[in-house]
Symmetry: C2
């Protein structure tokens, strides 16, 4: 089992990464009361491992249920379970569960303890670390949310065995992203060996730990996203979110991020901010772990650009773009011509 400690201005929390580690919760929480929130896919698989919970609360799986109506239902069920303000909410599942159960934990009775148990690769290496929780509005993703630090994160790699292959690939997009951002060795390992990766691979614990470590280092000094540094984590996301949105979320998050990273890399090379070989290396590495790097042709380029305008990562009304300079170094630019974005999206459309 590996451990990473995340510190933030008011405290710290441990992330445990290993196999069959949920018993850690009972050892740590001792007699504290808790409820488990998970979706209809994950609950039948893993909720039973939390046998002493006050209640197992389940909501219908899928991003389309990450809305305020579901949150409303969760509040009522948590209340009915008798959880008081000294209690704990365990978010057991992927990013949707972590975001939504995390938002409930941030706001139920003005905040109760949160334990994140991510069961998808994406949520393990990304959303369960850093304290961002959120809910979608009809107008866009994560437009409502909070910063809610967990008291503990339990990353059980065994849960990856039940993760669909495309969800595993989707998570790898964030692992690759973290390599591009801050760990060239991690990127190089995937570039070489990405095709062998699978949940049982002996390198999974190290790979997940390395990827989490990039996120930890990035969020640690910027827990409320006040500086530029944390914004770098949005590499590929401004484009990716827009692609996801225009597809009606038929394009998975990681797939959108993969496409978005390629857009960013091509733009960076085109503007001479990076070596011209970088886009190809990133594309090949993404393909090696089963990720698409072309934008489905039926998605309208102008609609994608319009969707970017509603992104909440605007600062003073202006969109900022994260571009790679080289492996391990990215930067923020507000100066990307819309025409170049349009051309790049069109080139990648097929």
């Amino acid at each position: 089992m590996s451990q990473i400690t995340v510190t933030y201005p008011q405290g710290f929390y441990p992330i445990y990464i290993g196999r069959n580690i949920y018993a850690t919760l009972r050892e740590t929480l001792a007699d504290k009361s808790y409820v488990v929130i998970s979706d209809s896919n994950v609950a039948p698989l893993y909720a039973a491992q939390f046998s002493d919970a006050l209640a197992h609360i389940t909501f219908p799986a899928g991003e389309q249920h990450k809305n305020l109506q579901t949150v409303n239902d969760l509040y009522s069920q948590v209340l009915a379970a008798g959880l008081d303000r000294t209690g704990t909410i365990v978010a057991l599942g992927g990013g949707v569960t972590g975001d939504m159960a995390g938002f409930v934990a941030a706001t139920y009775m003005r905040g109760v303890n949160l334990v994140q148990c991510p069961t998808s690769l994406l949520s393990m290496v990304d959303s369960s670390v850093g304290g961002k929780v959120g809910v979608d509005l009809p107008e866009g993703k994560n437009l409502v949310g909070a910063f809610k630090q967990p008291v503990m994160v339990l990353v059980d790699l065994e849960t990856l065995h039940t993760l669909p292959a495309d969800e595993f690939a989707s998570g790898m997009a964030e692992v690759v992203k973290h390599g591009v951002l801050d760990n060239p060795e991690l990127f190089a390992w995937i570039e070489q060996n990405g095709h062998e990766l699978a949940p049982a691979h002996p390198f999974m614990e190290a790979l997940v730990t390395d990827a989490i470590e990039v996120k930890r280092a990035t969020v640690q000094d910027d827990p409320f996203e006040l500086h530029g540094k944390r914004a770098l984590l949005n590499l590929g996301h401004t484009f990716g979110h827009a692609i996801e949105q225009v597809s009606g979320y038929a394009v998975k998050h990681g797939f959108g991020v993969a496409m978005g990273m390629v857009v960013a890399a091509r733009i960076s090379a085109e503007l001479n901010h990076s070596d011209s070989t970088l886009p190809t290396r990133i594309e090949n590495t993404l393909n090696k772990v089963g990720l698409p790097t072309r934008i489905p042709a039926h998605l309208d380029v102008d609609e994608i650009i319009a969707a970017m305008g509603s992104d909440k990562k605007k600062m003073h009304g202006k969109l900022r773009y994260i571009l790679p300079r080289e492996l391990g170094e990215c930067f923020i630019s507000a100066d990307v011509p819309t025409q170049l974005i349009k051309q790049t999206l069109a080139d990648l459309s097929m």
Copy 2:
């Protein structure tokens, strides 16, 4: 104009108390964009003073609209107004507006700046200070919420001229409460002169400032309500909330708090924690400012006791009661026999 500065672990904010002071907002915010949220009663009276807002957003007045559906509507309107995450939400109104617009500010795009402009006496001396924001669930009041510190509070006493008389009295319940909690001189002044109080009274600025100062001193070292001290502010509230709830909120908050303070004072005297004259002094002082101290006979005592059980101020499943020991000193007790509560409620019922 008076000023109080509230400090909390991550910063501080000023409270300005005076007459015709909303221009302070424009001077302070300078070119920052903001929206004003107020209810259908307050908007026509005062929203025009914020002429450079991105939008004036109005919701239907009344506690029955302090729910997640209204919050949902507010999110959409704030988004439509184009407020980005560097913007500010101005909560212009009473407690419902401060709670709900404050919750929107705490959660819209994971939090934007909040300026509280309380227009009722109750919200001036209580809810606008301390950072508690919240929304009701069908199951009870403020069961959802956050701790959201404002960047500034503007208390314009001129707004009290349009406050209905019973709302003014309702606010005085919290002023009296703050006297009982921590300012015997404030209490004594009201005991002597309470009948002359009115919005134009020259002592209003001092009275409101003194009452806010009690709240500031209490919340300052306990911003997240982790210690007992802040819980003292709930004097009269466990009983009062239950009375309000059973009345279907026909009993105003301050009226419920007034009744609840009398219940608490009588229980304290009955258990020999306080002098036997204290309940009468508190009752007389509350009556002097036009507050009721008897519980409407049609409210069922057993229902009131049952409603107390759903109060979120439970700790480890046990209800705690705030009792006055003497003027300026209250304490927390978990040891109050239910039979005594029942008897006291019955005695006051008429």
